[in-house]
């Protein structure tokens, strides 16, 4: 007699809980409608949502589309704006004119030819990003990634979103409960009951009594009530690699309702950290992420004030303590953690929401049919998820180790070899002689950051890979064709695409068409 997995209980709302509920419920609509599977989300009516995750990856387009969300409704109800990548300012030299882009479009002809050695070999009159893709220029000119006639979820230039996390969770709540048959229980969790096997049998709640389940998803945020608390899975701190442990967040209004709005995240390096700047239609979300070991709260606030300008004196600044790291394992017994309950990393590359999506999809696609096979799925999930966290940590650290800044202890300490993960060290050694590309080791089907992302950061920050003309000869003609094509594509998109804010206004006024 097998024990089927029929009752899925997600504990905790917020972005993690509702995205996970939506992804799983959309994937298993048939079984939910037939009454064979239930998805229940238990959410405390009293615990506030953390809600600073406002940057996303293009994966969110597919995720929302699969959930059956209207992109127009999403824009209108969650204060959404386009994100075409990130601009990193003052990360390399710290000077005023120091910046590079990590765009969301792949380099031209990425599947056919690696343009890096060709660019290094004599095309450096333009930045790497501008030489291989149009998106940096589109961002600099404040253009949108599509037009009003482009259907929902389709792009002219690849894009993700900036969103208001405080509005996103309630928006998903409505969608999941009204369209996808997710049961919503508003209750505070007071206890977790374990069975003799070590599995979670049920949770006790103050308002709704005991809730039983076959599989529990822990989306309780930093507290990690189920996985960290009841099942005792320890937290692995990575503050020795990524130093930032504090954030000061402040929402900045625009001077005028029609003020230009960036269609990219701006990340500006500071003396002991960096400031994020995310443009939403109604306001900018900014914040200073810094290392308390290298600076004081007062100095961090002063740097944020200098960035925001005099307007900050009337704005409320929120202080958040962060702890970089993740659980040692993510799925134990019949409990899997998603979101902050699984871990947290500084939002340098907007990895939080994409990790939620990838985890939710993995659970949805590999949903164990019965308890007997759950441990097999759990082992796979843990292997893949550990790999992803490791990769993200490496990728974030990459931004710090390529700096040439030596002005403060923060930047100097980041170069200490003891703070650099071994795998990253090995890769940096390799990349001195050959650049990362398709046939590199980023070969997973759902790699969080593909080889293209490494290229943009490495060569945006002036990393040198040795190239010889002889190596380039075989692909010289092909590379030149793609470089020329990029010039034409850039020119075409610059005339074709509207101003970022104009398109957002039109989406609010007219909506986007479904096809």
């Amino acid at each position: 007699m097998t024990r089927p997995v029929e009752q899925l209980v997600i504990v905790g709302g917020g972005t993690a809980g509702w995205l996970t509920a939506g992804v799983i419920a959309a994937r298993h609509q048939g079984r939910i409608k037939a009454g064979k599977v239930s998805v229940t989300l238990v959410e405390s009516p009293n615990v506030p949502i953390i809600g600073v995750g406002e940057g996303t990856w293009p994966t969110l387009r597919t995720t929302l589309e699969k959930m059956g969300v209207s992109e127009t409704a999403f824009f209108r109800e969650c204060d959404v704006a386009f994100k075409q990548g990130a601009k990193f300012a003052r990360w390399t030299t710290g000077r005023d004119d120091d910046f590079y882009y990590h765009p969301l479009m792949l380099p031209q002809g990425f599947a056919q030819v690696n343009l890096v050695p060709h660019w290094l070999g004599g095309m450096q009159d333009r930045s790497f990003c501008d030489a291989v893709c149009p998106q940096g220029e589109l961002c600099e000119e404040g253009l949108a990634p599509k037009t009003i006639t482009t259907p929902e979820y389709q792009a002219v230039a690849n894009y993700a979103y900036h969103l208001d996390a405080g509005k996103f969770a309630p928006f998903l709540t409505r969608h999941c409960t009204e369209k996808l048959g997710v049961r919503h229980v508003q209750a505070d969790v007071t206890g977790v009951n374990l069975a003799a096997t070590g599995d979670i049998a049920s949770i006790d709640t103050r308002q709704a009594g005991k809730i039983e389940g076959d599989l529990f998803v822990d989306c309780t945020g930093f507290s990690s009530l189920l996985l960290g608390g009841a099942l005792g899975v320890p937290f692995r701190d990575c503050g020795d690699i990524l130093f930032c442990d504090r954030a000061l967040a402040v929402q900045v209004p625009y001077d005028t309702a029609d003020a230009a709005m960036a269609s990219h995240t701006i990340s500006t390096a500071q003396s002991s950290g960096w400031i994020w700047d995310i443009g939403l239609p109604t306001r900018r979300g900014t914040g200073h992420v810094y290392s308390s070991r290298h600076t004081t709260d007062e100095q961090a606030e002063e740097e944020l004030a200098r960035y925001v300008g005099p307007a900050i004196k009337d704005l409320s600044v929120r202080k958040i303590t962060i702890r970089s790291g993740h659980r040692e394992t993510f799925w134990k017994n019949n409990c899997v953690a998603v979101g902050l309950a699984a871990g947290f990393l500084e939002p340098l590359e907007a990895s939080a929401i994409v990790l939620i999506e990838l985890s939710a999809r993995l659970i949805a696609e590999q949903m164990p049919v019965c308890r007997e096979v759950m441990d097999i799925i759990a082992a796979r999930f843990n292997e893949t998820t550990s790999y992803r966290w490791g990769r993200i940590i490496d990728f974030l650290k990459l931004h710090y180790v390529l700096t040439r800044r030596t002005d403060t202890a923060f930047w100097r300490d980041n170069l200490d070899p003891d703070t650099i993960p071994d795998r990253l060290k090995t890769l940096l050694h390799l990349w001195k002689y050959q650049s990362p590309w398709c046939f590199d080791e980023f070969d997973r089907l759902e790699e969080v950051f593909p080889a293209a992302s490494y290229q943009y950061v490495l060569y945006g920050m002036g990393f040198r890979t040795e190239v010889t003309p002889e190596d380039n000869a075989a692909t010289e003609a092909l590379a030149r064709r793609h470089i020329t094509e990029n010039v034409a594509a850039t020119q075409r998109l610059r005339t074709q695409l509207p101003r970022n804010r104009d398109l957002i206004r039109k989406i609010h006024e007219y909506g986007m068409q479904p096809i």
Partner: protein, 231 residues
């Protein structure tokens, strides 16, 4: 420039309008907006397709008159329009201003000495102006009806993109983009109650007129071929 004013019997008693179809008066259009009331008249000449308004992204229905920019393959400068002339071309240079009729006095169609008079000696509308007024009586509710029809098509997911890719005898090729038609697979898959509803609203006939009008694409291509060979 345009100078649109409400039509007035007194002020515009001497205004004349060059009503005939001509490229220099704006009949040189390859895709002309149409309303559902015209579909039966259009379908025997033109492909009826959907396109998107560049400003708003909204769908609208149109008749395809040519392939290239400003190409109307049905326009003959000597003989005029060689087929049913869509209302939106026939109404020029007039516009609706609420319940009243307005005219663009800067339109090249407007003249003092040649063309159709608007009013007779008694100040009553001429047969020409009465024809224009009749066109607007069809156009105004027609636009609203067309909008509702298109909304129904979209909500039932009956719209799909269509790419017309043609090779002509002179070796050139035309690929049209941004055009849409009825998704016939989706139409066949509709549940019975939806089909009955479409029929009762008169939409089913419109849908089949659009499907049948696709047969005008090769006819239109033949016109283009002949024109290319003449040139």
């Amino acid at each position: 420039m345009t100078n649109i004013v409400v039509l007035n019997t007194e002020a515009h008693k001497d205004v004349r309008v060059r009503a005939k179809a001509s490229a220099r008066f704006g009949d040189d259009q390859r895709f002309v907006p149409v309303v559902v009331g015209e579909f039966a008249l259009l379908a025997v000449h033109y492909p009826i397709l959907l396109s998107k308004d560049a400003e708003t992204g909204a769908f609208y229905a149109g008749a395809m008159l040519g392939f290239d920019d400003r190409e109307n393959l049905f326009l003959d400068e000597a003989r005029g329009f060689d087929a049913y002339r869509p209302l939106s071309l026939r109404r020029a240079p007039f516009f609706a201003a609420g319940d009243e009729l307005a005219i663009d006095l800067d339109s090249p169609r407007v003249s003092r000495n040649d063309g159709e008079a608007l009013f007779d000696e008694t100040g009553a509308p001429t047969a020409y102006l009465q024809g224009v007024m009749a066109a607007f009586r069809e156009l105004k509710p027609g636009l609203e009806r067309t909008k509702r029809f298109l909304e129904t098509l979209l909500s039932l997911k009956l719209v799909e993109t269509v790419t017309i890719d043609l090779a002509f005898d002179d070796g050139t090729r035309r690929i049209t983009e941004g055009l849409y038609t009825i998704d016939q697979d989706a139409l066949r898959a509709l549940p019975d109650d939806a089909v009955v509803d479409l029929f009762r609203k008169g939409y089913l006939q419109l849908i089949y007129l659009m499907i049948a009008s696709l047969k005008q694409v090769p006819v239109l291509a033949r016109r283009k071929n002949l024109k290319l060979l003449e040139a």
